[in-house]
Amino acid sequence: MIRNFKQILEKARNTGRKKLAVPAPRSRRVFQLLKEAEKTGLIIPVPVGALDEAIAMAQNGDVDLLFQGDAGMEDFINALTVKEAGIAERESLSYISLFELPSENRLILLTDTLMQAFPGIKQKVLILEHAIDFARILGIEKPRIAALSTVELVNFNVPSSVDAAVLAKMSERRQLKGIIDGPLDIDCASSRERSLRKGLESPVAGQVDIYLLPDIEASYSIAEVLVFLGRRILAGALMGTKVPVVLNPRFESSYSLLLDMALASIRV
């Protein structure tokens, strides 16, 4: 099981260098990153003149990975999800942000921290399936998942609590592969003791591998809070693409992007 970022880099290096297409690199950040990733033994950068050219190379299998590089986020996702590109559907994309918990020697995953704004229950199922697949790549066979809400009881005024309850039931019936509990608030999800104090006997409390966040306002901003106010490096993975794709979100440092490339490499 992969328990920290160092192990991600090691595993990626062991799988060998991957060819990574990057459209029109021009910033210092991107050039330095490509240099570093090459030096580390992760990738062979393949700079390409135009965005659609890079996407075509990824689609044809000329490269193993695709990197957003200096392309704008909206442009890049649009180009990736037009039908002709054949790489992804916009509604099926999700993003996972990973953080290390050194005291417990393990990783936690937050999703969807970038792509879907207000996912409905069907999209949440897809987001979870992506995260469960991803957890398996890290060696977590049966991830424990908290479907977060503001409350622990189903409250029809709080849609995330209803979604969470449905997802928990689906997991109970083995329609989803992880162990999902919800609705849980963050306080209970992150501590068995606190959840017991509230009278909840939760199979995931205190051992959560995957936090499913209710909507983009919570998920994107919480990723930012962890990064800036927790001063933590994170790693990220875009899910739902036929070829592993590395994004360039602004709240990820160069080292985070290096980790993103490593994560993409082990998914090839």
């Binding site: 909206e74 996702i77 608030d185 963050i186 927790g230």
Partner: protein, 305 residues
Amino acid sequence: MLIRNFQEAEEIARKVGPKKISVLRAENREFLLALKEAHQRGYGEPVLIGDERKIREIAEEISFDISKFVVIDSKDTQEIADRGVQLAATGETDFVLRGYIDGPPLYRSLIRVSSKRELKKQICVVALMQFPVLPKLIGLTDTGITVAPDFGAKMEIIKNAATLFSRLGYESPQVGIITARRGLNDELDSVSDAIKIKEAFAKRQFPECRIVDGLSLSDFFLGAEGFLEGFDEVDYSRIPDILLVHNLEFGNIFVKIDSVAERDFFSGVRRHGFIVGAGIPTVIPSRADTHETIITDIALGVLIS
């Protein structure tokens, strides 16, 4: 007397006190221990509302002489909240300290009192937070009452928070509006509300606070276009004083963010909550708080009343 951390709050409260405190459901050991200490420090004296027999029992156990204080016997939660709020509304006490009661009955009492005084009815929770990486306290709002405030509600929430901060010594607090604007699928209610709020404040509808540029922590710390390089380059003094969250889904997680990694990267985070907007200073310790934390709540109550 600008309060930059909770220790300062405790020191200044010694000079500002004593005040009178409505304590809602006081029959709790941690609360009574805190009130005993607060009284010794000169913060003030309580009016103890709740189960009188239990209150007197616990007070005796902890050797807290409450013979000089008013004790109001009641076991009905709504009545306890109403009595305590009413005492503060008539000036018999200076602020309300929530003891062991739920939020909703207290919200009801506060809204009733504020409607009678024809004050604005949008009450909200402001969480005052201390993060070790930040050079000052920040206020998050609304982290407790309205699930999905609209533009009008957000305007009132900002004004409420600014009023609280002015009591804490901030002359024109900076307000940052946090949204999920991230250069992708940005047609969000949070973003359109933020634009309207900025326009409204630009017309100086409320000069007591200032809305800062930017719509996310990335914007505040990295500017509109910047990318994170390393944390040494992040200027933490750029954090606004007050952060408005779009909805409770986010606010609720943000306010308890340290629970995710309290042994790792969020040790030392502290928080204290207030209900603002009813014109009745109200501090709301959380149920898990120990008496040490509740003493700080009381000190903050002294400062804002």
